[in-house]
């Protein structure tokens, strides 16, 4: 059942992105930036966690979850360290994604030849 909801929710988020691309003529970079901000805003109102519980990877795989994780890590540390905690914790949950993106992106770029 989680798989079905992951498909539907994940697909719907992508459809919103496609509408922003086609109808509002935004560039992919604009769409991705807006989605990250949207994810952070949704998390600020504690809505994104409900979506994750409901849809699993349908909510964690789209780029919106990046904004959600940024704010989530920041809030966790802010509870412990106060204002500086926001800066300390901001990359706490996303570091796996960013580090692997840098590492694998670099390795692939070194090994492979550009195509097309």
């Amino acid at each position: 059942m989680t798989f079905l909801w992951a498909f539907i929710v994940g697909g719907s988020i992508c459809v919103i992105g496609q509408i922003l691309l086609d109808v509002f003529k935004l560039t992919p970079a604009h769409v991705m930036s807006s989605f990250v901000v949207a994810g952070a805003v949704l998390d600020a109102f504690d809505l994104y966690d409900n979506l994750i519980e409901f849809a699993g990877a349908g909510a964690t795989v789209p780029i919106t979850s990046f904004g959600h994780s940024l704010l989530h890590g920041a809030m966790e540390q802010a509870d412990e360290h106060g204002f500086i905690g926001v800066a300390v914790g901001i990359f706490e949950l996303t570091s796996a994604g960013i580090a692997s993106a840098i590492l694998f992106g670099f390795i692939v770029a070194v090994i492979f030849k550009p195509k097309g």
Partner: protein, 152 residues
């Protein structure tokens, strides 16, 4: 078209009438199916990491995202992901795989300029905006929420 001479004012209007209209519905269906399938694959990975590698439900996100990024970087290197992107549009750009694709493709594109000035400098050329806006938004919202929690 009327025979008005083109100038800066009506150029944008005239240009639009020559552009092909995108097949809105078809593009949305493609984006829905491909984006949904990527998320289902992510869910499959998450379940796999929970059952076989003893990750908790919350921590399983990290290896899932890392695996998806690795696969997407490889697919970009083989030139497969760009073909998928032409077919699926936002369906392949919005999931975290699209983030990895933008990093890898920007680095590959500038490979001829060398390792430091080409690959490393351009790694975040496209994905940088995502990180900048994400951090700025999360920082501002984090401060607001923290102040809110202090007051109430």
């Amino acid at each position: 078209m009327d025979k008005q001479p083109l100038n800066e004012k009506n150029f944008d209007k005239a240009r639009k009438s020559y552009q092909p209209k995108p097949p809105y519905v078809m593009n949305c269906i493609k984006a829905f199916i491909v984006g949904g399938l990527i998320c289902v694959f992510g869910e499959l990975l998450t379940q796999m990491y929970i059952h076989w590698f003893d990750y908790s439900e919350k921590n399983a996100i990290n290896p899932t995202v890392a695996t998806l990024i690795l696969l997407s970087a490889l697919a970009t290197g083989f030139g497969v992901y760009d073909k998928l992107g032409q077919f699926a549009g936002a369906g392949s750009a919005v999931p975290v795989t699209g983030f990895a694709n933008s990093i890898t493709s920007a680095a590959l594109e500038h490979k001829s300029e060398g390792l430091v000035l080409g690959v490393a400098t351009n790694l975040f050329k496209l994905a940088g905006s995502v990180i900048v806006f994400g951090v700025v938004a999360a920082y501002v919202l984090g401060i607001i929420r923290y102040v809110w929690s202090l007051i109430f």
